[in-house]
């Protein structure tokens, strides 16, 4: 369609869950395009489907109806293994609760995506170390996650999301579990790194501060995108 600039393209996307006798519609015929290098903020109340949308875009979950295209690849047409491999290569995640691997050191956490993508060991190490330096944790390489503060953990998580050079970074409430000050720092880091690398970033957030950084702010309500802060018009 418009151009190869479109990274994420959702058409007629629906997702509903069966809960006992009832069916709860979370997303209802959603259409959305996100351009390369764009930063999108997703707002909405709890249970409005923000996380579901992230899961769908990353191939973790499958829609009830509709199609998802990421970088021209139709995720909905892939099987579980192909989606996993796609995610492994093209997606980076940042979570509210950091979700670092507690049994791996900081450096190993960064090396993991690289190893999964079969990067050369030496190069991978150099990349990881460089990135750790960049987020200011060069001296904590051998620490385990539980030895770091929340902010530090989230910085590592951001680094891990970016280290294998993905197409797309998905962040779910990245500052939700941090105090305001730390949150600001972390957010700044996320913004800086993704933009610097030219990545597309989708952030689920409650925070106006986060939304303020976004190129596009979407609000999910009742399964629809209720408001778009700025039209994308090319």
């Amino acid at each position: 369609m418009e151009s190869e600039n479109i990274v994420v393209s959702l058409r007629g996307l629906s997702r509903s869950y069966r809960e006992g006798e009832q069916t709860r519609v979370v997303l209802d015929h959603l259409d959305l395009d996100i351009a390369r290098g764009e930063c999108v903020a997703l707002l909405g109340r709890s249970g409005s489907g923000k996380s579901t949308l992230l899961n769908l875009i990353s191939g973790i979950d499958l829609p009830t109806a509709g199609t998802i295209r990421v970088d021209g690849v139709e995720l909905t047409a892939l099987n579980e293994r192909e989606r996993t491999l796609f995610r492994r290569r093209h997606v980076g995640f940042v979570y509210q609760f950091f979700n670092l691997i507690p049994t791996l050191t900081v450096e190993e956490n960064l090396l993991l995506p690289l190893e999964l993508n079969r990067r050369d060991k030496g190069a991978a190490r150099r990349t990881a170390i460089a990135l750790l330096e960049e987020i200011g944790l060069g001296d904590r390489r051998t620490a385990f996650p539980d030895q770091l503060s929340g902010g530090e953990q989230q910085r590592v998580a951001i680094a891990r999301a970016l280290v294998h050079d993905p197409l797309l970074v998905l962040a779910d409430e990245p500052t939700g579990n941090l105090d305001a000050d730390t949150g600001r720092h972390v957010l700044a880091l996320l913004d800086r790194l993704t933009r610097q690398a030219g990545k597309t970033l989708i952030v689920v957030t409650h925070s106006k501060a986060v939304a303020g950084l976004a190129d596009q702010v979407l609000t999910l309500a009742n399964g629809h995108i209720a408001a778009q802060a700025r039209e994308v018009a090319w």
């Binding site: 899961n55 990353s58 973790i60 979950d61 579980e80 293994r81 996993t84 491999l85 995610r87 492994r88 290569r89 997606v91 995640f93 979570y95 609760f97 979700n99 670092l100 691997i101 507690p102 049994t103 791996l104 190993e108 090396l111 993991l112 995506p113 190893e115 999964l116 993508n117 891990r160």
Partner: protein, 844 residues
């Protein structure tokens, strides 16, 4: 596999070493029991086969005799009239030196060279001495070492009540190959053997080497023409086979017991692996988000299981070998008690049981880890699936498992009803039933907790309700832990009820059968083919003792044919007295009339079962007049002989067997005679001659029960081992469960629970689990005992018994489960109480 993925997973296990150690220990113990039993079985059987093969040597055939063996003159006739060079006479007996059972083999060294080679290497001086000096023997070097003897040394050999001082004239050097066959063997000149065993004039058998083909058949016909009716020519291999088959059922029983331990081990592995997976669901979810595929996760989990399996198996084999050393002694003793004398010096390390054990250990581990690994692989990326959702899933799965379990149990019942006597089929259905019951357990747990939680809440407050609901809330683990404990405890119930039913049946039987006041017998080892006998003068001395009203006599001989051994018991009943055998079939009046009139014989229950014989059928026996058939008048209960007994009136026996010896006497005292005085008079009258056992009714009853208890020692040992495995299982399950609930407990602490209350909560919870397992184990164990009593024992031995359910076995079982659970809950409870809530709360 990705190294970091593996490392992430492994470091988790390393951080919970106890869990891993317990899992490894569970595998190890399961494998160890299986390997030990297998090794002991194999050792006993191989030792038996080796010693039979060594005994038979080059012999292809053997001439076996009637009740008291073969007349020695037959050998001379074969040698001289038939010119049969490849033949050798053998006198065999079993004796004792200290506690050691010795297999005494009397040979003619001049005939040996064509049959056996084990005299090679003995110095000619020693052989000459053996030939010309009475009471001189040879034995294997390792046996001599064990008895602390050197050539020239003397020791006391007890044989059929005779104590003889014998001289060790030389030792047979053994190699690793021959050690098992020669250990315990005492080789002597045939004359010495006859004198030691008190069987002058008789041979145990004659070995022959008949060539194959037509020539052999010709020779065989020629030999057979020479044979008097009381002897028969059998193939050596068939004879060994028939002997080996006798103990088959016993070996199968042991194997089944050992598999039970392994099964409990499987539960343990399942438990550990499931827990390890659930505990790491966050980690696994994150890995999945990062793009680790399901297959990779599956392989990581399975890989860990394999490692646990390998370490556990290796450890298990080592423990198994050690355990086997002890078991082989028990197995040998049981075979000794039940079947025939067997000398097994040591455990034989053959590769087959070790390989089998390894494969079983690994297969069991993989099988047990399969479900958790699949669970791990299907973990949805991220932490999308909450814990409660998982538990909901398990709870919805529980009814389906229960259904499957019910189907299994039903299938087991159908198999049980099949008209077969196959022991293995019996065990298959037993295992199916156990498995079925185990699968039903989680559903029952869910139901019980659902029902009990409100009741407990009302009675003991919110804490109790919380504790019990916690069990249902983590059914994925508690269900399995309870099932494993129930399995182990129900085994103890099943086996316990079976053994006590058996024992009480035997006691009742003894009371009914042992009617005489005093018994006199020559000490003997069971079923050695030269049955022990009393010196004739003893019988005369006894008759002279005052105070005796009537005397019954018994003579037990083993009649051998190519199909195996039959024990014939010749009974002489004084009028109106004599043992009152309980009849399983037949009208007592008619039976005893036919018996007394020498018209028919009685057979013991195992014999009837084994050979499918009932009243009106005929038993075929080799007599001194050749094969004869005897009508069966009745079937009587007997719990002494594994293979079974044919009971014959003394007169009938003497008509068909030229044997006038007596093996034991039962004395009936006059009403006015004092037992002590008669015993003293007997001791005085019989002192100095043959060593005989003079025992009162009560003593012999006690001795019989002691032998019974000894027979079941091995069963009890295996039972304890499987409880040990289960205990480790419940310990690891509970520890894992409680440690995992750290956060929940921390919240309780934060809400205002005191450490003591937390400990109490954990204790109530584990105690309740134990109680549920114990209570569930009772019906399952009872069903198991019914199968053991009415199917397994019957098929294995042909014994029927009254079912007796002793309350103490059931109470013990419930207490055992409770105790195991409470002990297992101690550490987690203690640890939970000590944990600072803040630290636990901070953890995700």
């Amino acid at each position: 596999m990705r190294a970091l993925v593996r490392r992430a997973s492994w470091r988790h296990l390393w951080r919970h070493p106890w869990q891993m150690v317990l899992a490894i220990l569970g595998v190890a113990l399961g494998v160890a029991v299986a390997v030990a039993v297998d090794l002991a079985n194999t050792s006993a059987e191989r030792a038996f086969r080796l010693s039979m093969a060594n005994l038979a040597g080059e012999a292809t055939h053997q001439i076996i005799g009637g009740a008291t063996g073969v007349d020695e003159r037959l050998y001379t006739r074969l040698r001289i009239d038939a010119g049969l060079r490849a033949s050798a006479p053998v006198v065999e007996a079993y004796g004792k030196s200290g506690d050691e059972t010795l297999h005494v083999l009397g040979v003619d060294i001049f005939a040996e060279q064509s049959i056996r080679g084990h005299l090679n290497g003995i110095s000619e001086v020693a052989l000459q001495r053996l030939l010309s000096h009475p009471n001189t023997v040879l034995m294997a070097d390792l046996t001599a070492r064990r008895l602390g003897l050197a050539p020239g040394g003397r020791f006391t050999l007890r044989l059929g009540g005779r104590r003889t001082e014998v001289e060790l004239t030389g030792v047979l050097a053994t190699s690793a190959r021959t050690a098992a066959a020669l250990d315990g063997l005492v080789t002597t000149d045939i004359a010495t053997a006859q004198e030691l065993a008190g069987v002058v004039g008789r041979l145990s058998w004659i070995d022959l080497v008949l060539p194959e083909g037509e020539q052999g058949k010709d020779l065989r016909r020629r030999v057979e023409r020479l044979l008097p009716p009381e002897v028969t020519l059998v193939a050596a291999a068939a004879r060994t086979e028939a002997m080996t088959q006798m103990t088959r059922a016993f070996h199968i029983n042991l194997t089944a017991m050992s598999l039970l331990a392994l099964l409990v081990g499987v539960f343990l592995i399942y438990n550990t692996m499931t827990f390890a997976v659930l505990q790491r669901r966050g980690l696994i979810g994150t890995l999945r988000v990062l793009g680790v595929t399901r297959a990779e996760i599956f392989r990581v989990v399975l890989g860990e299981a394999v490692l646990i399996g390998v370490v556990g198996t290796v450890l298990g084999i080592v423990i198994g070998i050690v355990l086997g050393q002890g078991l082989v002694r028990l197995v040998t003793r049981t075979i000794d008690d039940l079947y025939f004398a067997l000398t097994v010096g040591s455990l034989l390390l053959t590769p087959a049981p070790l390989i089998k054990g390894s494969l079983m250990g690994l297969a069991a581990t993989l099988l047990a880890a399969l479900a958790p690994a699949m669970e791990a692989a299907t973990t949805v990326p991220r932490t999308a699936l909450t814990r409660s959702e998982l538990e909901r899933r398990v709870r919805s799965l529980a009814p389906r498992l229960a259904l499957l379990g019910a189907l299994l149990a039903l299938g087991a019942l159908v198999i049980l009803l099949l008209p077969t006597r196959d022991l293995v089929t019996g065990f298959v259905s037993l295992f199916m039933l156990i498995l079925g019951m185990t699968l039903i357990a989680p559903a029952v747990v869910a139901g019980v907790t659902h029902l009990l939680a409100p009741v407990a809440g009302r009675l003991f407050g919110i804490q109790a309700r919380l504790a019990i609901r916690g069990i249902a809330a983590s059914l994925s683990r508690t269900g399995v832990a309870i099932a494993a404990l129930m399995l182990a405890v129900s085994t103890t119930v099943g086996v316990g009820v079976m053994v006590s039913s058996f024992r009480s049946t035997v006691a009742v039987w003894l009371d009914a059968t042992l009617r005489a006041d005093i018994y006199i017998s020559a000490p003997s080892l069971r079923s050695s083919r030269t049955a022990s006998q009393l010196d004739p003068q003893i019988v005369q001395h006894v008759r002279a003792v005052p105070g005796i009203e009537a005397i019954a006599s018994g003579r037990s001989v083993t009649v051998e044919s190519g199909h195996g051994l039959t024990e014939v018991f010749a009974l002489e009943r004084p009028p109106g007295r004599g043992p009152r055998y309980l009849l399983r079939a037949g009208d007592p009046a008619a039976v005893w009339r036919a018996f007394g009139a020498n018209e028919a014989v009685l057979v013991s229950e195992p014999y009837a079962y084994r050979h499918g014989i009932g009243i009106g059928d005929r038993v075929r026996l080799r007599t001194d007049d050749g094969e004869r058939t005897f009508p069966v008048a009745g079937v009587y209960y007997d719990y002494e002989s594994g293979p079974g007994v044919v009971l014959m009136n003394r007169e009938l026996y003497e008509r068909h067997y030229r044997d006038r010896a007596i093996g034991a006497l039962g004395l009936y005292l006059r009403p006015d005679a004092a037992m002590d005085e008669v015993m003293a008079a007997l001791r005085a009258a019989l002192g100095g001659g043959q060593e005989v056992l003079i025992r009162s009714n009560r003593e012999i009853r006690q001795a019989s029960l002691e032998i019974f208890d000894r027979t079941f020692t091995i069963t009890n040992v295996l039972r304890l081992l499987s409880i040990l495995v289960a205990f480790i299982g419940i310990l690891s399950a509970l520890m894992a469960l409680q440690l995992e609930r750290a956060k929940e407990l921390a919240i309780l602490r934060a809400t205002g629970f005191t450490p003591a209350q937390v400990t109490g909560l954990v204790t109530v919870q584990t105690g309740f689990m134990g109680l549920v397992a114990g209570v569930l184990a009772v019906p399952v164990g009872l069903v198991m005992s019914l199968i053991l009593i009415h199917v397994i024992n019957r098929r294995a031995f042909g014994w029927s018994m009254q079912t007796l359910v002793p309350a103490d076995v059931l109470i013990q079982a419930v207490l055992l489960a409770l105790l195991a659970a409470l002990i297992a809950g101690l550490y987690p409870g203690w640890r939970m109480a000590r944990t600072r809530p803040a630290a636990a709360l901070r953890e995700e």
